[in-house]
């Protein structure tokens, strides 16, 4: 038998004499439960928002696939709504050309900025450059559009001997716009590297440049790819600034200074007046944009998993 040890005078066991722990009060319990549910509601609203948009866009855009056909819609070479021709290939190519060009210009600029900020700049210089880069992210895109329209376009018009509306102007404007996204994420990736590896590299007799190019950038590679993909998402989705400088001619890319159009800018251009199948086709384009950005998010997810595994 395991009789508890009892105090001689009171006859109480140790367990009985010890002060009792407080019980959770009813109000605490309710508050906790309410808060938990509040956060759940917030999360649900966000998810429901995305789902609703997707359902709405899908519902309005679906007929374009069933009535015009996937092939004719996606691979059709002509976008002539007045003649009931709804081929989005030139627009899709336009989006691609604009995005890839912007990335090609913007990535080196952004990675260079990030390397400068995290590895080279003194505290004082960083204190100036960093907020400036972050400020770039906060500038409304219509301002970038104005800048492109009023400053860049005339210069490019002179250089290319055209009107200056077209991919080149859009590339430069977009490249500047995606710098903050890519630069901040790349800087984070560089800063999260194990701290000792810089010293190790210098102690091996490496120069700053060798340390950056042979140790730091390769080590931060996954984070940088991640940054570029998020920048890509930003570039594909950007509408206003592109619309103002790209020329908005729904034709295939045929020159640096020749007007083209993109999926997003065409939607904005046509939406105010489009009706019937034309309107449906615009929703169809939205579905495509939706799928592309879902794909990008998927890739980013995948990369982040890789990074965690490392």
């Amino acid at each position: 038998m395991n009789e508890p040890i009892r105090d001689k005078e009171s006859g109480l066991s140790n367990a009985e004499r010890a002060p009792k722990l407080k019980l959770v009060s009813q109000s605490t319990y309710l508050k906790e439960a309410a808060l938990k549910n509040l956060f759940l509601v917030c999360a649900c609203v966000a998810v429901a928002g995305v789902a609703l948009i997707f359902v709405f866009v899908g519902w309005r855009g679906w007929p374009v696939f069933s009535e015009i056909g996937v092939g004719k819609f996606l691979l059709g070479k002509e976008w002539l709504p007045t003649e009931q021709l709804f081929g989005i290939l030139p627009l899709f190519v336009g989006s691609l050309v604009v995005t890839i060009g912007a990335l090609a210009l913007g990535t080196p600029l952004a990675v260079g900025t990030a390397v400068f900020l995290s590895e080279i700049a003194s505290h004082r210089v960083r204190a100036i450059v960093r907020p400036a880069v972050e400020l770039l992210a906060g500038v409304p895109s219509v301002i970038y559009g104005f800048f492109g329209l009023l400053v860049l376009r005339p210069i490019i018009a002179k250089l290319t001997g055209s009107l200056g509306f077209g991919p080149l102007t859009a590339w430069i404007v977009l490249a500047i716009m995606i710098v903050p996204t890519i630069a901040t994420l790349t800087e984070d990736a560089l800063r999260s590297l194990p701290p000792g590896i810089r010293e190790a590299s210098y102690a091996m007799g490496a120069t700053t440049w060798q340390t950056i190019s042979r140790v730091l950038l390769p080590a931060a590679k996954i984070g940088i790819v991640d940054a570029i993909i998020l920048g890509m998402g930003r570039a594909i989705g950007e509408t206003m600034a592109v619309l103002m400088v790209v020329g908005n001619a729904p034709v295939f890319f045929h020159g640096l200074g020749q007007p083209i159009s993109t999926l997003t800018s065409q939607i904005v251009m046509d939406m105010p007046y489009a009706a019937g199948m034309h309107r449906t086709a615009l929703f169809g384009m939205a579905i495509i944009l939706f799928l592309v950005s879902m794909g990008l998010v998927g890739i980013v997810r995948f990369i982040q998993r890789l990074r965690e595994e490392q």
Partner: protein, 277 residues
């Protein structure tokens, strides 16, 4: 550079030559400053070639600072300043035309926290040779193998050379870092508390390694472990900062056996017997 060195030694008197041969690093009246803070003052000592020298002293007395003077790692910290001379094989390493990058190839360093690069074991060891222009795969293979063998790590990693260096255990990582340094064939190896972040078995391995390496490399080790200093070193230097905010200095420097059995200075004795620090 080697030419001028051999010339200058051959011109010197015979007994000086004999002495020169055993002294690897000659420090004269060294003062060190972090901005306005005078961290070390009046340090004069001779570090013997092919021996292990231990730096001991309480935390914050400038052991690491002094160690980092030998490969000019302090140059990387803005606002630092060295006064006095440090001669490596008779050449002033703070001379006006000395390239710190070349100096660091000859004076390698091991840190307290193992710091392999996030790349394969092979690439870690090949890093230095590649920096200095070795390109041929077969040459690199040889260097990687020899260096890992010298660091007593070859047996454990010979089948996993393409695995990430960071997947190794802490002690293995530290030996990988040693292999990485050995790959550029340094004359001097600086070790700043190389054993304080790893397990006892690995400590044993690294101590054995130091005994093997010292026939070819001059080793300087900073350690807080008195037994370790007594076990591995030939000479010991005891540093002390007596007043907070005042510069630290070299209290006693001599044969390890003497420092630990019959220290000349009362403060050294107090420190070694654990009465302060």
């Amino acid at each position: 550079m080697t030419d001028t060195l051999s010339q200058s030694t051959s011109q010197a008197a015979p007994d000086v030559v004999a002495e020169e041969a055993t002294v690897k690093i000659r420090v004269r009246d060294l003062d060190f400053y972090y901005d306005d803070f005078n961290a070390l003052t009046g340090i004069t000592c001779d570090i013997k070639a092919q021996a292990v020298t231990a730096f001991i002293g309480p935390s914050g007395c400038g052991k690491s600072t002094f160690l980092r003077c030998f490969n000019r790692m302090n140059d990387l910290i803005p606002g630092t300043r060295v006064v006095g001379t440090v001669l490596l094989d008779g050449q002033d390493i703070y001379g006006p035309d000395v390239d710190p990058v070349d100096l660091r190839r000859r004076v390698g360093m091991i840190f307290q926290q193992p710091n392999p690069f996030p790349m394969s074991i092979y690439d870690n060891v090949a890093y230095g040779p590649r920096l200095h222009g070795v390109k041929k795969k077969s040459d690199l293979d040889d260097i990687v193998k020899t260096s890992l063998k010298r660091a007593n790590l070859w047996k454990e990693v010979k089948d996993i050379l393409d695995r990430g260096g960071l997947t190794l255990s802490g002690g293995q990582q530290q030996r990988l870092c040693i292999a990485r340094v050995l790959a550029v064939q340094p004359d001097v190896l600086l070790m700043d508390e190389p054993c304080s972040a790893i397990d006892p078995t690995s400590v044993q391995k690294i101590e054995d390694l130091m005994a093997e390496l010292k026939s070819t490399v001059t080793i300087i080790i900073v350690t807080h472990n008195m037994q370790q200093a007594a076990r591995v070193s030939d000479d010991t230097a005891f540093f002390l900062q007596e007043v907070m905010g005042e510069p630290a200095h070299l209290v006693e420097f001599g044969r390890t056996a003497e420092i630990f059995t019959s220290p000349k200075d009362k403060r050294t004795e107090d420190y070694i017997t654990g009465r302060f620090g």
